[in-house]
């Protein structure tokens, strides 16, 4: 079932991808016989053929785990998105502290250990990256 759904999604995406390639992509001046549109056209057809093949002969259903596994995954994914949203405005130090402490705590480390871990990664990572390695990280609210 999962295979069939995935194959359908790929079929639709490849179809739209092909539609764009066959109708929208055009070069005003073109020096080579293929132009920018032929390669995506070929790819879209190949992808649709493969998707049809998967649709016809899907594999056995993967083990998705129970609702709690998927819930944990959803939580981790949400944490990543929040971290990404907060990364620039809050800055590396603050957002990393919150993210690491929160995720470690949810992952089963004790509250005190999780706080310590978050603090260590945030401060240590910031010192290492901005002072020693001179990488570009957002300063955020603490950079005022």
């Amino acid at each position: 079932m999962a295979d069939r759904i995935a194959a359908l999604v790929i079929l639709v995406v490849a179809g739209l991808y092909g539609l764009v390639a066959f109708t929208a992509i055009k070069a005003p001046f073109q020096y080579d016989p293929l132009g920018p549109e032929s390669w995506p056209q070929i790819l879209s057809i190949a992808a649709m053929l493969c998707a049809l093949a998967v649709l016809a002969r899907p594999d056995a259903e993967p083990d998705w785990g129970g609702g709690s596994t998927l819930g944990r995954l959803g939580l981790a994914l949400a944490a990543l998105v929040v971290y990404a949203i907060a990364f620039q405005p809050l800055g590396f130090l603050v957002s990393t502290f919150l993210f690491c402490a929160g995720l470690a705590w949810r992952g089963g480390a004790g509250a005190a250990r999780a706080l310590l871990f978050g603090l260590g990664i945030a401060v240590g990572g910031d010192l290492l990256c901005t002072r020693v390695l001179e990488l570009n990280l957002p300063a955020g609210v603490l950079g005022l």
């Binding site: 493969c50 470690a104 992952g107």
Partner: protein
């Protein structure tokens, strides 16, 4: 031969430069650490650390030496979690669990670890020697390749990929096509036309290679770990005091030689890396062993040595097409190749002439790295083993922070962070559905090369497609592509019929 030795000498001059030597040692050490962590294999390790290596502003040869050190360090390290936890670090280490973990359960973990370290060393070193000998002539041969031959080479690469990698050939091919499609996003370099950018300026320069790599291999891996954590805990076997004996080594000497050569050859085939190499070597060894083969899977040292020698040999082998043809030999070398492109260096036949310091420096550093890894691994294995007890609660956020630092520090655009998470989710779903991710990254790396060569070939011929079939080299490559797809299918069919004849359905 004399010339090769002279060039290798100049390579050693590069590799022994204090900075590079330090990077090899650090890379090997860090790689072993990363490989030892359950679930994180060479490809994830290299992917997560690539942007950091890039933003250190090292010269290209040093950055590549560092990343390559991590690559084969992780190939060594992968066996530790396979043997002690029965959890392979990545697909290439699956075969190591079969005989390695039973040995550990019998209380001979130390023997298994030290023997596999020796097997890894043998495989790794032999493959670097073969790389030194066969790389330059192959590059000389490939210099005559024009666009049509490159198109044929790509077809061959994707044929081997779909035939040998993954369980479902259609899905592997589909994965590669998804990669090729991702590579078409952005401004077309030949005509300046926007493709699939939907007016989003962040997409004009295409989806950054780093973002794809970290998304597919860093974030997807993280989600996989979350899932594994939610499902329960892992039991660690103690290392103990046993050690490999000279008799063990003598007992597996032919196994090592056979498996290393198999591993090297499979590594050279474009797209197929450690996972295929170790599986084929294990299967071959089991067949060769005859009567002894029955004990495979219960802690036979030959069954342990074969896949370990093969997967390290394949790491050296997969460097051959990368350095000589510009076509990666495995998923991990695809990332290394992408790293070279980040430095504006086009890997390919001219690299031995134009950037000998990179090609030969890398090869020389592999000799040093293998010796260093053996020396690191024999005494320090207990230290690495302790890492396995690092709770996942800390490891998961740590991977995320590394991924965020990597993506942000190179491009500095928050949009890429969302893209990375999206690709990570895509990678997790694909993996769940039994797609392998290496073909996707190969597609991303090879996408523009494939398209450019196809367009160039047809420009030369004025739109006549028969140019693709004109040269002898291309025809040979197409023939090989057909063979590699057809032979496994026929073999599978023959095996199935002979089996059904042997034991008729009741």
């Amino acid at each position: 031969m004399g010339q090769i030795l002279a060039e290798l000498g100049s390579g050693f001059a590069v590799a022994l430069h204090p900075l590079n030597l330090a990077l090899v040692l650090f890379g090997c050490f860090a790689g072993t650490l990363i490989g030892a962590l359950p679930g994180i294999g060479p490809i994830n390790g290299v992917a997560i650390l690539l942007p950091i290596a890039y933003s250190l502003r090292l010269p290209p040869e040093s950055a590549l030496i560092l990343l390559a050190g991590i690559y084969y360090g992780a190939e060594y390290g992968g066996r530790i979690s396979s043997i002690l936890l029965n959890v392979p670090g990545d697909a290439g280490a699956v075969m190591t669990t079969l005989d390695g973990n039973p040995l550990a359960k019998r209380g001979e973990a130390g023997r298994a670890l030290s023997l596999s370290a020796c097997a890894s060393f043998f495989g790794g070193t032999l493959s670097v020697v073969l790389l030194t000998v066969f790389g330059p002539p192959l590059a000389d041969f490939a210099i005559s390749f024009g666009p049509p031959e490159y198109v044929a080479l790509m077809v061959f690469a994707f044929a081997t990929l779909s035939s040998l990698v993954g369980r479902n050939p259609t899905k592997t091919l589909l994965g590669a096509i998804i990669g090729l499609m991702l590579a078409t996003v952005g401004v077309d370099a030949n005509t300046g036309v926007n493709r699939y950018t939907f007016g989003i300026p962040d997409l004009f320069s295409g989806i950054d290679f780093l973002v794809v790599v970290i998304g597919l291999f860093g974030i997807a891996e993280l989600l996989h770990l979350v899932e594994a954590q939610a499902r329960g805990h892992l039991a660690l076997t103690a290392v103990g005091r046993s050690f490999v004996s000279w008799r063990d080594l003598m007992a597996v000497k032919w196994t090592l030689l056979r498996s290393s050569i198999i591993g090297f050859i499979i590594g050279v085939l474009p797209g197929t890396g450690a996972s295929v190499a170790s599986a084929v070597a294990y299967g071959t060894e089991k067949r060769v062993a005859g009567e002894d083969g029955r004990t495979f899977g219960t802690g036979n040292i030959r069954g342990l040595a074969a896949p370990e020698a093969a997967n390290n040999a394949s790491a050296g082998g997969s460097m051959v097409p990368m350095l000589t043809l510009g076509i990666p030999g495995s998923g991990t070398t695809a990332i290394l190749l992408g790293a070279l492109l980040l430095f504006n260096i086009q890997p390919g036949p001219l690299m031995f002439d134009q950037h000998p310091e990179i090609a030969w420096g890398l090869i020389a550093s592999m000799y040093i790295g293998n010796v260093a890894l053996l020396l690191i691994n024999l005494p320090l294995v207990g230290l690495f083993a302790r890492l396995l007890t690092l709770p996942q609660a800390y490891m998961i956020p740590l991977i995320a922070v590394l991924a965020f630092i990597g993506v942000y520090s190179v491009v500095g655009n928050p949009f890429d962070l969302y893209m990375m998470i999206g690709l990570g989710l895509l990678g997790w779903v694909l993996r769940k559905l039994d797609f392998s991710l290496a073909p996707v990254i190969l597609g991303v790396v090879l996408g523009s090369l494939f398209e450019d060569n196809l367009r160039r070939a047809l420009s030369i011929s004025g739109g006549d497609w028969t140019i693709l079939l004109e040269s002898r080299e291309s025809l040979i490559l197409y023939a090989m592509a057909v063979l590699i797809v057809v032979v496994p299918v026929l073999l599978g069919r023959r095996r199935r019929t002979s089996r059904s004849e042997a034991d008729p359905p009741a």
